[in-house]
């Protein structure tokens, strides 16, 4: 334990001990007797924030003291003016700190995860599944970010690196199955529970971290600034990403890739605080070159999306032919484990997709036992992937949650289908980055900036 307090906590003043958090925790980290305040075991918790999404015990207007509430808001890192009630399960907040830093003046670069553009509209009265990339970019500019880049660009980059790594392992250069490493809650779980299997994780950083690393190297170069002057911010549907950004190894040449992580909900709070009318904003593009993305990068935000993006590229790398149909419906689906087999250039390629961390254990035990006959596995902690993440807009009525998740997924697929460029390797800005800066996937520069070692102190 490095003394860092947990990102996810339960307020015992508000908790009624109903136990619904226990029901959704994928790793059994919540402890407590029914009817008495519950607590989180920090050595088991993976910071996914599903408990925060689920928690319905709130500080009642009829019982609370206003002074106490203001104090709690400060403790939680919330703006005191935020009107939403305080629920018992909460995550640490960074929005006031980011707002201050922007106000002080700095050279800032921001990225947003794919899942953010399929959900942030909900915070401003738009229907579930409203797709708002254009307004999102406009909003970030109004907040004062100098460069409005995008995580989806880095998702394309991840496919290039991870796809190459996978093919090398298929040739015998590393152990199979290879597991994705973009979900930090999954990585945390693997480090806690299956440290003997860490060599199976891809050495790639997550798209968030790759983006941050590129901002503070290539991005800084483009803008003619010292990398140490860059304030690198990420907006994520995820609470665990806040801890991911602080990990040892998530840095390069002595600078942190990402300085601050905001959840989708926190970004919305910043916009409200700044009186920016999100729904009335015009559509604007993301900045080039690090804000241009393909449809493949965009679908990282849902279960099966990383796999589909990877296969769209891997198929062409292996066979030399484009994949016959861009929509790889056989890797799409919902919570649980899905398996698929495809043939590429005469070789059988077996993949698995896990959505919901509580489902991954049997697969890992099979790997330990040497009986797992899968080549590549995508693991996402949250039930439908990132669109259902712990940092997303919190759906107030539990019986509506499934509909909202389905609508958010549909929005990301819709966005993919409407984009001209749908494959990571065809993203011209990614191609340019390799040409001008990185060299080739898994090369020396990539290795320094875009890869890490998992299993170091959390």
């Amino acid at each position: 334990m490095n003394g860092q307090q947990n990102v996810i906590r339960i307020d015992s003043d508000i908790c009624t001990g109903c136990g619904r958090c226990k029901d959704v925790c994928p790793v059994g980290a919540v402890e407590g007797v029914q009817g008495t305040p519950h607590s989180i075991r920090e050595d088991v918790c993976v910071l996914c924030g599903q408990c925060v999404q689920q928690c319905s015990a709130f500080a009642s207007f009829y019982e609370q003291h206003p002074a106490c509430i203001a104090e709690k808001k400060r403790e939680r890192g919330l703006f005191v003016s935020e009107a939403a009630p305080l629920f018992a399960a909460w995550h640490t907040g960074d929005a006031p700190r980011v707002a201050s830093r922007l106000a002080e003046g700095c050279h800032s670069m921001v990225q947003c995860a794919p899942a953010v553009r399929a959900a942030i509209g909900e915070e401003f009265g738009m229907p579930a599944g409203a797709l708002t990339p254009g307004r999102l970019a406009a909003a970030l500019r109004r907040l004062g970010f100098d460069r409005v880049y995008d995580t989806n660009f880095a998702a394309d980059l991840t496919i290039m690196e991870e796809g190459s790594e996978l093919l090398q392992r298929m040739e015998g250069a590393g152990p199979l199955p290879m597991f994705t490493s973009c979900c930090p809650a999954w990585v945390r779980y693997a480090e806690q529970q299956f440290p003997d299997l860490l060599e199976h994780l891809s050495s790639c950083k997550s798209p968030q971290q790759m983006a941050g690393a590129v901002f503070k190297s290539y991005g800084a170069q483009l803008d003619g600034v010292d990398p140490r002057q860059v304030f690198s911010v990420a907006v994520m549907p995820c609470t665990c990403k806040k801890a991911e950004a602080q990990r040892p190894g998530m840095e390069h040449d002595g600078v942190r890739d990402v300085d601050a992580v905001l959840t989708t909900g926190e970004l919305a709070a910043m916009l409200r605080q700044a009186h920016i009318d999100f729904a009335a904003l015009p559509d604007e593009p993301f900045d080039r070159p690090l804000g241009s993305y393909s449809g493949a990068g965009n679908i990282f935000g849902l279960t099966g999306g990383v796999m589909e993006a990877a296969l769209r590229t891997a198929y062409e790398l292996v066979t030399g032919e484009p994949v016959p149909c861009t929509e790889l419906v056989y890797v799409r689906g919902g919570e649980g484990i899905r398996h698929a087999t495809l043939t590429m250039d005469g070789r059988t390629f077996r993949v698995a997709v896990v959505a919901g961390l509580q489902h991954v254990r049997p697969l890992l035990e099979a790997v330990r036992a040497g009986t797992c006959d899968v080549d590549f596995v995508e693991v996402m902690c949250c039930p439908q992937g990132c669109i259902s993440g712990g940092g997303q807009p919190k759906v107030l009525l539990p019986f509506q949650r499934d509909e909202v998740y389905a609508a958010r997924k549909a929005a990301l697929y819709r966005h993919d289908a409407e984009l001209a460029c749908r494959k990571s390797h065809e993203n011209p800005q990614v191609q340019a980055l390799y040409r001008e800066f990185l060299g080739e996937p898994l090369g020396h520069v990539s290795h320094n900036l875009l890869h890490t070692v998992y299993g170091q102190t959390r």
């Binding site: 109903c18 619904r20 939403a84 009630p85 009265g125 229907p127 579930a128 107030l396």
Partner: protein, 201 residues
């Protein structure tokens, strides 16, 4: 002709886990967000439910209005603000003057006094002091209570939202008839020799 008894929502304490989803759903159903799938960020005013989770060592359950047939709240209201609407007993907030008599009259504690919110702000009223001098500004407060979600298509929000099915509509007349039928069947099946002179059972 028998008049219809008002239905009301009743909680089963053996199922209630104290999660407050019912309070959230109730408050959201009575807030002018107008959103079909509300999220926490849509709330611009506090959650003000009309049912209240009660936690005691013996039992935990929400409590709300029973829509009494001879309601003391309605009888005691000096402004005539509590009236029957579609069978339910409803406070017409426009008529309510916030005198709190109904709060005192209700033996269940089902009525609360809350500020009125518009566009995220409490609506304020000014009150002059006796000497016509300094005005104090305070929020307008009105009585609120369960209104059976009259006008809501899916019916009472709390019943719909409860994740353990602890809340249900107590359709009391139907309930009574069913129990009478069961009692009669019980007599027929199990009670022997009520009249000893009938001989064998």
């Amino acid at each position: 002709m028998q008049s219809q008894l008002s239905d009301f929502v009743v909680a089963d304490a053996s199922r209630c886990i104290g999660c407050r989803v019912c309070e959230v759903a109730c408050a959201v159903a009575h807030t002018a967000t107008g959103k079909e799938h509300p999220v926490a960020g849509n709330l611009d005013s506090p959650l003000l439910p009309r049912l209240y989770l009660v936690r005691t060592p013996l039992a935990t359950a929400p409590v709300q209005c029973r829509h009494c047939e001879d309601a003391p709240c309605a009888a005691s209201c000096p402004a005539g603000a509590i009236r029957r609407k579609d069978g339910a007993l409803v406070v017409e907030e426009a008529r309510c003057v916030g005198c709190k008599t109904c709060m005192l009259a209700c033996p269940f504690g089902a009525v609360e006094l809350v500020p009125v919110y518009a566009q995220g702000r409490a609506v304020m009223q000014t009150v002059q002091t006796e000497d016509g001098g300094v005005c104090t500004v305070s929020p307008v407060m009105v009585a609120v209570k369960c209104d059976m979600c009259t006008g809501r298509q899916a019916g009472p929000a709390c019943v719909q939202a409860c994740p353990r099915g602890a809340l249900r509509m107590a359709a009391v007349s139907d309930l009574r008839r069913r129990r009478c039928a069961q009692a009669a069947a019980g007599l027929a099946k199990y009670v022997t020799a009520l009249h000893p002179e009938d001989g064998r059972s």
